[in-house]
């Protein structure tokens, strides 16, 4: 591990200016998101491209992404404690904090999606434990609470105020909660309505995408912090994270290929409709881009000469996160475009065009400007939380401090 770096005053001044600029930009994006949400609340979902056939879009895909990041980051944060890797224990604060920020992002995304957000409290007073969505809500709540407690104890551990035993116990707890992301997949996989979702492999696929998203964002954050002399990151840690991300990306790709083969081989109506949506239908633009970014990220993470370049590794991290987002979006678009009843009839809701009757199916889904603004504002919110956290929380590792 390298020695602490002495930061020159002029460099520090430049960094502060850069931080302020970023904070202002992020705040502006968040304000744009608040305005868009107000507009959505006032006008209703007519300002989105969602309808009775495609009820979920980029809002739910971003919720799924932030859930993945949160769970994956918490799993990574738990590993030093669970596997007794003491030299990396001090780093665990960073992924624990990422997990906390991402769980707030996931909560914001689901809140924004609700048709009646003011009734959010119904999820507490009328909560039905038999619903997979209730399980999903409990997982977000647990991710939020455990990340916060774990982060707090990790900070205290660095200050010598908490025992190693407590950290070990909390690490197991964090690992368990992180793995609950697999249970979050039941929201989708238990619905027989959509053959594309209805697979027992979904929990494993969700844990894999969580590990990808968590490690990828952690890699990007660590490289950024290293470039700002915030902390030192040894090459072995970067290498280990890159290998975990790369191998997980390959596993995700195997899942995708397996889904396609499973859909095609038996020749069932549902399987063929799903594959048709992937290769020729509504999901094609998302699926094609997902394949390109995932393959590019695999090349970056698993080619030693490429991954040793910090810039390339950061690009790989961003590509992996985009890949997870597109994977989730594709999952939604395929399921909703492969409808079970295809007969033409009177269109409903936003699909209804006054004076003319057209078949409802095959319209696909592309997010509206309002939807894109909302998603970007949540991304900005999570980045802002990370920026503020790294500035005001004692997250530097011991050696750097």
């Amino acid at each position: 591990m390298s020695n602490p770096t002495v930061i020159q005053p002029n460099i520090k001044k430049k960094q502060n200016l850069r931080n302020i600029t970023w904070t202002v930009i992020l705040c502006l994006v968040i304000v744009a998101g608040i305005v868009a949400w107000g507009y959505l609340t006032f006008k209703g979902t007519t300002v989105t491209n969602l309808n009775n056939i495609n009820p979920w879009g980029v809002d739910i895909a971003s919720f799924m992404l932030f859930m993945s990041i949160s769970a994956g980051a918490l799993i990574i944060a738990s590993l030093p404690g669970v596997m007794n890797i003491t030299r990396y224990q001090s780093y665990a604060k960073i992924p624990a904090f990422i997990g906390l920020a991402a769980s707030i992002g996931a909560g914001a995304a689901i809140f924004m999606h609700l048709g009646r957000p003011e009734r959010f409290w119904h999820m507490i007073v009328y909560l039905r434990l038999g619903s997979p969505m209730s399980w999903d809500s409990l997982v977000i709540a647990l991710l939020l609470i455990i990340s916060a407690i774990f982060l707090n104890k990790l900070i205290k551990f660095d200050q010598g105020k908490t025992s190693k035993d407590t950290i070990k116990k909390l690490s197991y707890c964090a690992l368990f909660v992180g793995l609950l992301e697999g249970g979050s997949s039941f929201t989708y996989s238990l619905q027989a309505s959509h053959t594309f979702w209805n697979s027992p492999a979904q929990p494993v696929a969700f844990i894999i995408t969580a590990i990808i998203a968590g490690t990828a964002l952690l890699t990007v954050v660590l490289l950024l912090l290293k470039s700002r002399n915030y902390l030192t990151v040894d090459d072995k840690l970067s290498e280990a994270l890159a290998k975990i991300t790369g191998v997980s990306l390959i596993t995700e790709l195997i899942f995708v290929i397996s889904e396609i083969i499973t859909g095609a081989y038996p020749g069932t109506i549902g399987g063929l409709a799903d594959n048709s949506a992937l290769f020729t239908g509504a999901a094609l633009p998302y699926f094609r881009t997902e394949l390109v970014v995932v393959v590019a990220a695999i090349v970056i993470f698993l080619t030693p000469s490429v991954r040793r370049n910090s810039m390339m590794l950061s690009i790989g991290g961003v590509l992996a996160i985009i890949g997870v987002f597109l994977n989730k979006l594709t999952m939604l678009v395929v399921a909703f475009s492969a409808v079970n009843i295809t007969n033409p009839g009177a269109p409903t809701g936003p699909l209804a065009i006054t004076g003319s009757y057209v078949p409802n199916i095959g319209k696909g889904y592309f997010p509206s400007l309002v939807e894109c603004t909302l998603v970007l504002s949540i991304v900005a919110l999570v980045i802002l939380l990370l920026l503020l956290g790294f500035k005001y929380l004692p997250l530097q590792n011991k050696e750097t401090v």
Partner: protein, 208 residues
């Protein structure tokens, strides 16, 4: 005494494709613009109300579709707040005051578009006020669907769609009562149910 199980039986051979039941449902339930709880889908043709085949060998077919009031409803199991629930007599209900608008029920229901989301404040082509509609008034940001005209059922009447069907293609009653018309029809005629493979056990039967 066995619990009631209210079902609808539709004789598709008698269906004219006139859409009267769709309009009866819309007006009887004061449905806002662009909301159709009951729709008549076309069988065979590429577009609505178009025939199957090539002239002169043409054939017209229709499939009236609305909530299937399933015995094992995916929507009831999915709803996280119990806004979708089943009555004792098997009618699947929607509580607009409790619905949070997550649309998970729409995602869970295999019957495409029978559940519909009120994207904005309900608007009507006719001057209809909330006072006139009463408790069943639609709400912005919530999901709605066919409720088998439960207020009419409670008054001993049949649903609007059946009442006004000119072809008398619809039947409604308690399947658990062997003397009911629906029970007799299902014993004497062949029938289909939609998407039985999804495990929902729908309560709408189509006589073939």
């Amino acid at each position: 005494m066995a619990k009631k199980r209210m079902v609808m039986v539709i004789d598709v051979k008698r269906c004219l494709g006139c859409h009267t039941c769709a309009v009866a449902c819309k007006s009887g339930n004061y449905l806002p613009n662009k909301v159709w709880w009951n729709r008549i889908l076309t069988v065979g043709g590429k577009d609505m109300d178009t025939p199957e085949g090539v002239f002169p060998n043409l054939k017209m077919g229709f499939l009236p579709i609305s909530c299937q009031h399933c015995e094992n409803p995916a929507c009831v199991k999915a709803c996280p707040v119990g806004a979708t629930y089943k009555r004792e007599d098997g009618v699947v209900m929607q509580d607009y005051d409790r619905c949070i608008g997550c649309q998970y029920c729409i995602a869970a229901c295999p019957y495409t578009e029978v559940r519909q989301f009120n994207v904005s404040e309900p608007e009507y082509y006719l001057p209809i006020t909330k006072d006139k509609i009463g408790a069943s008034a639609q709400q912005k940001g919530t999901v709605s669907k066919c409720i088998f005209c439960f207020t009419r059922l409670d008054d001993g009447k049949v649903p609007n769609c059946m009442e006004l069907c000119p072809g008398r293609a619809r039947y409604f009653g308690d399947l658990n009562d062997p003397a009911s018309e629906v029970a007799k029809l299902l014993q004497s005629r062949q029938y289909n149910q939609l998407l039985v493979e999804k495990g929902t056990k729908p309560s709408v039967y189509y006589l073939t």
